[in-house]
Amino acid sequence: AQRVTQPEKLLSVFKGAPVELKCNYSYSGSPELFWYVQYSRQRLQLLLRHISRESIKGFTADLNKGETSFHLKKPFAQEEDSAMYYCALNPPQGGSEKLVFGKGTKLTVNP
């Protein structure tokens, strides 16, 4: 079964500190992985996807197939990064485009 695990429910860092939000997945094939973010009072939105290997708002995420991980990293956290972050997996099977989400990590960046 496909599963996404985000071991940290809450993560608190100070402004300017590095931040890493952990994500591990279980899937036997080659999944598509995403990070979605939900800022306060806003809807869920895509932050980045592994296939495009991009950096968005200073965040990067590398897919490590050996460790089945897709951790989200930023070298210098900003207060505006405070939000709920969800790791998601799209198992490319049968044409379905469904997403399997982790439980989310609430990031708080303190001044």
């Binding site: 598509e32 809807r43 869920l44 969800y86 485009e97 997403l99």
Partner: protein, 117 residues
């Protein structure tokens, strides 16, 4: 990006009643998805709705409890039937970005917060 609206934004309902949630998209989309987010939990896919065909339900969700309509390419409804307090959740509609090179990104609606007493 697609703009999605949901109605109602929130509701408080009595046990045993039903609520229909509407999802409107500003562009034509092939696939629409309905998710549930229970308090303190992650988003769980309820079903995938394609226009002109029956919705595809995920394990643990059945059509009698969550009937879905998809009358056209810009609109869908999800009904939560015979509600119980365990149905208290946020219900989210999403659509797939069908543009070439979009890598299956999904756009989400603002959600409907349902409380069942």
């Amino acid at each position: 990006s697609a703009v999605i609206s949901q109605k109602p934004s929130r509701d408080i309902c009595q046990r045993g009643t039903s609520l229909t949630i509407q999802c409107q998209v500003d562009s034509q989309v092939t696939m629409m998805f309905w998710y549930r987010q229970q308090p303190g939990q992650s988003l769980t896919l309820i079903a995938t709705a394609n226009q002109g065909s029956e919705a595809t339900y995920e394990s643990g969700f059945v059509i009698d409890k969550f009937p879905i309509s998809r009358p056209n390419l810009t609109f869908s409804t999800l009904t939560v039937s015979n509600m119980s307090p365990e149905d208290s959740s946020i219900y989210l509609c999403s659509v797939e970005d069908g543009r070439v090179g979009s890598y299956n990104e999904q756009f989400f609606g603002p959600g409907t917060r349902l409380t069942v007493l």
